[in-house]
């Protein structure tokens, strides 16, 4: 570092230091946030949508959060309980949380352990239909020995006991406010659901569903110098393009969320100099799922069930060739730019779980793919399409309607045609495709196509339940109303056993080894073809400081630390 730079750095730190020391609550005016999908409720227990989770995270908070690196950070709790510090029992059957002392709700009343217990009761009440119920699985009881201590008891040993009361999905709500909103009455409590009393840095002053939320600083927030902003304007609606423009080009808004736009579009907007595009990588992977079952409409009710194996995708050589023909590096560069990393793993993060055994797929090898098919007896016909015993390699390739996905489809179709595979493309409206309606033939669960492409991820940092998605039992089928996450209908006893063994293994290293092994099994069986490890993309104005992008929790997790920079 040359002296000039050091001097500049010193000057900069001097300039910043007094500002942060003098920061006081509400001194920075209003911050404008735009979410192009508008929140309809402020209660995450009644909505599975990310937009609602994130809006609510301004107001209500959990005991602990994940930070930007995926580490657990105590939030309302004093510390994160572990076996080492005695917070988690040796038999992994209970966890003891200790609340910070002196916590107040925004109405001035104290936060106690009964509120924590109530949050569990609220979500698990009969007839409630809580969206976050899986966070509270296997809990037998929540005990409150004193005002600030909460003991959660599980029915089975939990190597990962950090589901209840952790993360944006499972925040603490006030008992006094929600007492009369249990079970079936939950959705009727409009006032409570729109104006929850919370511990967060802000409190709702006006909530207009699917439109605008205005919030003001919480007078009883635990850090007297925060938040720096007195007001939040949380605007919902529009589209990703307009949201990005309003931050990067016109500067009307300070923060925009989830900007799924082509990299050159974002780059040209960023060039206007009003804001910055930020991204961070969680666990989202854009992947192609391979269908192991026959989807011939003539099969009627048994269509797409494992009773009828797929005519050619059950041949591993075909699946391998399909994977080898794809240039993941080029796809990612065109579709996501810096917001994507080409990947060969369906479990790419956190780092400890990422396998390196499959990286060979990053290089496209059309000649190799052709050779594999040739050796496996698939011979090119007069129309350039390979066939064997009268079965032609003709694939129906479906995905949701989205400009980037259609570009992916077009490119992959061309590569597959070079190895003698014919592809028919289909795109389906996203709300239908991801709609889970058992009556529609076009959902990604029914998967009435040979291959389909979409992105999936998992919440938090523990992959156990995510990897359990591909147990045979998880396959969508008529008996389950076509619900389930094993889209390829992948059935492998060895995989099932290994995946189930994860529930009883405690050590992080051993768990990671199993997760990597599971990932490698899926990859080397070519049950799915991962393409791009996607980052979350957001944009913030150059006049907004303190933003730390977080993909493991709400993006607004540290909104209390946001400040105005002039």
């Amino acid at each position: 570092m040359n002296p000039k730079k050091i001097f500049a750095a010193c000057a900069l730190s001097l300039a910043i230091a007094p500002a942060s020391a003098m920061a006081e609550r509400g001194s920075d005016g209003q911050v404008n946030i735009i979410y192009w999908q508008a929140p309809s409720i402020m209660n995450p227990y009644l909505s599975g949508g990310t937009k609602e989770l994130e809006a609510a995270s301004l107001v209500i908070e959990p005991l602990a959060r994940y930070d930007q690196d995926g580490n657990l950070t105590p939030w309302l709790a004093e510390s994160v309980p572990t076996v080492a510090n005695g917070g988690v029992s040796e038999d992994l059957m209970s966890i003891t949380w200790k609340l910070k002392s002196g916590l107040l709700w925004s109405d001035g009343s104290p936060v106690t352990s009964t509120d924590v217990k109530f949050s569990w009761e609220y979500c698990t009440a009969e007839g409630g239909g809580c969206s976050q119920a899986e966070k509270y699985l296997d809990i037998t009881d929540v005990e409150t020995p004193d005002e600030t201590t909460v003991v959660v008891r599980f029915a089975i040993p939990k190597p990962f006991p950090y589901n209840p009361f952790v993360g944006a999905q499972a925040p603490i709500i006030q008992k006094a406010q929600f007492e009369n909103c249990m079970g079936a009455k939950a959705p009727e409590c409009t006032d409570q659901n729109f104006y929850p009393i919370g511990t967060g840095p802000f409190a709702v002053t006006e909530f207009r569903p699917n439109d605008v939320i205005t919030l003001e600083a919480n007078d009883n927030y635990r850090d007297p110098s925060k938040p720096a902003f007195a007001k939040v304007l949380f605007k919902g609606g529009g589209d990703a393009n307009a949201a990005a423009r309003s931050v990067l080009e016109t500067g009307e808004f300070d923060y925009a969320w989830n900007l799924q736009l082509a990299p050159d579009v974002l780059a040209s907007m960023e060039a206007a100099g009003k804001g910055k595009v930020i991204s961070a990588f969680g666990t989202s992977v854009e992947r192609i799922m391979i269908n192991f079952t026959d989807i011939d409409p003539a099969l009627g009710d048994e269509r797409g069930t494992i009773a009828h194996p797929h005519p050619f995708l059950t041949d591993i050589n075909v699946r391998k060739a399909l994977s080898m023909a794809i240039d993941r590096v080029l796809l990612t560069e065109i579709g996501y730019g810096p917001a994507g990393i080409p990947t060969c793993n369906v479990l790419p993060a956190p780092a400890i779980y990422a396998s390196t055994a499959n990286d060979a797929c990053l290089t496209q090898d059309i000649a190799g793919a052709n050779e594999i098919l040739e050796n496996a007896g698939w011979v090119k016909g007069a129309d350039g399409v390979r066939a064997k015993d009268g079965v032609r390699l003709s694939i129906l390739y479906q995905t949701s309607t989205n400009a980037v996905r259609q570009d992916y489809q077009a490119l992959i179709k061309q590569w597959w045609s070079e190895i003698g595979v014919e592809t028919e493309l289909r795109n389906i409206n996203a709300s239908v495709f991801f709609g889970s309606d058992p009556g529609s033939p076009d959902t990604f669960q029914k998967f009435f196509a040979d291959v389909e492409m979409y992105t999936n991820n998992f919440d938090g940092t523990d992959p156990e339940s995510y990897m359990a998605n591909w147990q045979c039992d998880q396959r969508p089928r008529p008996e389950t109303q076509w619900q389930g996450n094993n889209m390829p209908r992948y059935c492998n006893d060895e995989y099932d056993k290994l995946s189930m063994s994860m529930a009883s293994v405690g050590g992080l290293e051993e768990r990671a080894a199993i997760a990597r092994q599971l990932n490698d099994m899926l990859m080397q069986d070519y049950a799915m073809l991962p393409l791009t490890h996607r980052g979350r993309v957001a944009a913030h104005s150059n006049r907004l400081g303190g933003v730390v992008m977080n993909t493991w929790d709400s993006e607004l997790w540290n909104v209390a630390d946001w400040t105005r920079i002039e």
Partner: protein
Amino acid sequence: MNETRAPQASSPSRSQWAEIWHQFKMHRGALLGAIIFVLIIGTVFIGPLLWTIDATYIDIRARNQSPGWTHPFGTDQLGRDTLARMMVGGQTSIAVGLTAMLLALSLGSVIGVLAGFFRRLDGPLMRLTDLFLSLPLLPLLLVMVLLFRESLSSIFGPESGIFILIVVAIGITSWMPTARIVRGDVLALKEREFVLAARSIGTTNLGLISRHILPNVLSPIMVSATLGIANAIITESALSFLGLGFPPDFPTWGRLLIDATVYLQDYPERVFWPGLAISLTVLSVNYLGDGLRDALDPRIRGR
């Protein structure tokens, strides 16, 4: 019997068509519209024989190019040639427009004539027309695509299957205005002396309709035909714009337009070409219809 009627209809025929042409020529907008429409059809259907780049071929090194010698209209974000895509897309859009128009026109004329000519059918047919008028097009199309896409594409292949579906969908949801106009005209014509005279000498209903009614309602039919083409092209574009209809790699003008909207700021020419093509076609066809109406209407002709 036909012989005795023939002189009346065909004696001025040589000069009648000439006169129509003469009248049509006088309408400068119509003439220009006709020329442009023929030009567009010619370019779109003959052009690909001369400009032989494959519309779906991806040349990734040549992506995002501005108009130049190798790619006169530039290339898109995957390096596909925009000119080739415009021509192939136009074939689909215009084919959909023309076929859907023919379907709507025949349906509309038949129902209009029947309703106007046979009093007993008038009530039911016109209520049917009202019923169809009240059907919202897009939700109906969504349902149709959902129900019939798979069976049709397994019979006719993915592209022809969806072509038939879209044409039928547009056809059966846009015949109503034609039916109403035709019915009105038929009602008035039916009471005219020459129809009464024909009926009095024993002309059958079929003969009356084909020899006396239809030629006289040709002018409104022609006008709704031209408007119908425009309408069908726009509906197809709207469908592609919504991501329904044809497979995503199958270019149509509407699809090109939706694909280009994201790049509106960086590459405005990409929205410009399909937008211009759709507007020009619709406009020229409308002028064409306007001129044809003037030319075909014996009361206006010669003035």
